[in-house]
Amino acid sequence: MLELDRLWKTYDTPKGPATIVKNFNLKLKEGEFATLIGHSGCGKSTVLMMVAGLSDLSKGNMILAGREASGPGPDRGIVFQSPCLLPWMTAYENVMLGVNQVYFTASKAERRQMAEYYLTIVGLGDAMHKHPGELSQGMRQRVGIARAFALQPKMLLLDEPFGMLDSLTRYELQEVLLELWRRNRITTLMVTHDVDEAIFLSDRVVMMTDGPEAEVGDILKIPFERPRNRKEIMEDPRYYELREHLITFLNDRSHIRPSREPQFKPSPDMAAELAAHAFPFPTAAA
């Protein structure tokens, strides 16, 4: 479905070009749910923006649904890290803007229903007709989520969508997300900081090393069956192993760059990912 092949991102700064993301390889299968985890400022949003088509690739290829990806479009729904609502429209109008765009063949009543459905689901049934200035930070973020979900995109790109939310609301919205994902077989790439969230939601967790020149540090497959039950997963002994693995990576190993470590041994999941890319891994070549 989505193939990222040796993606590079370089920004021109006064002090010369700065490479933010280096050699980012990832292959997502149709309907796969992957999360991207890494430290603040390592380049997660940058990768997501490139996939969304909002930021040019400096190097590398991106293949989306069998085609070289073109510019941005509503087939890739995106929830931005900062909600990005248009302040002169109400929450409802913000959602309607996109809904009108992709469901232009549907009747007006159906479109309205669509926007109302998703706004209610994210818990804004009462605040639908408020302007963003009158909403709390978390509510704005939820409008952004509703806007992306309502388009039923083929691919969802989520940049820390639940960052500003309390754990209860977060749990509710995670369920909503999973339901949407299950129903539409949406390929999802999500950025998160929350290790538990990553394990609960995803099929694979992609860990990024620290920036600058961030790359994929490790990949972890989450073996739990779907549909998942939060409680059961929490009680599963494997859960703590996985959690430990992620936390160790974030705390201790995130600065280890695979391409520069001669003794780097990719984990089985990562090795599988590497094998899928045509070019051999730099260390193997050396």
Partner: protein, 294 residues
């Protein structure tokens, strides 16, 4: 209760005091009529009126009032082409300003958008704009006369209703008042946050929709600042234009009264121009603040 709280007494009395002080200074420097009795060569007693003071010809506030009373108390009277109530003149000027201003906005706003959207357009036209911007209305008017010398719309009685001077006047107002709108719109368009444009891109909004749903609302606050400044300039220009073309209006009246040596009316005109300009500005800021989005 609320009103009193909001408009504290200070805000009424302090300006009032300042106005009184200004009137006093005006009175001090104004010329006063001094009537002296004199015996003339024939032995008759005659009264001689002489004006004395720092600025002998400047009428005092009271004289101004008595001389202008008629124009103010009968603001809509029409006694002759150049002898009409002050509001009638104001109305004429306003109509002219409105026309010129409308032209300025209609032309200026799109130019502003082009400047804001396209780097190439900016590089190409910026020098021309920078050169034309500071040109005074007095310089534009003759050019307008030449440009539109052929314009003549005649009504049924064979009287010209819209001639070269009208066209030139509109041209001058429009071209002078346009620049703040152009510049502010351009700045506003450039300041549209990238986030908003990203939203438009992700939703694949058409060019037209992006313009109306994203760019225009996001630039509105800037545009209205431009509109307000433009209106100020249009109102400034009108006086000069009317003076030069001799059209009826506040400016025309002012010039005519100067030529007729009735100085009190000049002050009346100046005050009218000032008050109207202030009211227009307030109106525009009221509209402007309505469009300020959080």
């Amino acid at each position: 209760m609320h009103l009193i709280q909001r408009f504290k007494l200070d805000s009424i009395f302090l300006p009032l005091g300042a106005i009184l002080v200004t009137c006093f200074f005006w009175y001090v420097i104004a010329g006063k009529s001094v009537i002296t009795e004199k015996v003339d060569d024939f032995g008759d007693k005659i009264k001689v009126t002489k004006r004395e003071g720092l600025s002998a010809d400047l009428p005092t506030p009271v004289e101004t009032w008595t001389a202008s009373k008629l124009y103010i108390t009968e603001p809509f009277a029409k006694r002759g082409e150049l002898d009409q109530g002050i509001l009638r003149f104001t109305w004429m000027s306003l109509v002219l300003v409105a026309q010129g201003y409308a032209i300025a906005l209609i032309i200026g706003t799109p130019i502003g958008f082009f400047l804001g959207l396209s780097k190439k357009f900016t590089t190409a036209f910026d020098p021309i704009i920078q050169v034309l911007r500071p040109v005074s209305p007095l310089a534009w008017l003759p050019l307008g006369m030449i440009l539109f010398s052929g314009v003549k719309i005649v009504n049924g009685d064979g009287r010209t209703t819209f001639g070269a001077s009208d066209a030139a006047a509109l041209f001058t107002i429009a071209i002078c008042a346009m620049w703040p709108t152009v510049m502010n719109t351009a700045v506003g368009v450039r300041a549209v946050p990238q986030d908003y444009l990203n939203v438009a891109k992700v939703l694949k909004l058409s060019k037209w929709k992006t313009l109306w749903k994203v760019l225009v609302p996001a630039t509105l606050p800037y545009m209205f600042t431009g509109f307000r400044l433009s209106l100020g300039i249009a109102w400034l220009v009108i006086v000069a234009v009317e003076m030069l073309t001799g059209m009826p209006g506040v400016g025309g009246f002012l010039w005519q009264q100067y030529n007729a040596n009735s100085y009190a009316h000049i002050i009346l005109c100046i005050l009218t121009i000032g008050v109207v300009g202030y009211v227009l500005d307030r109106l525009m800021s009221a509209i402007e603040s309505r469009f300020k989005t959080a």
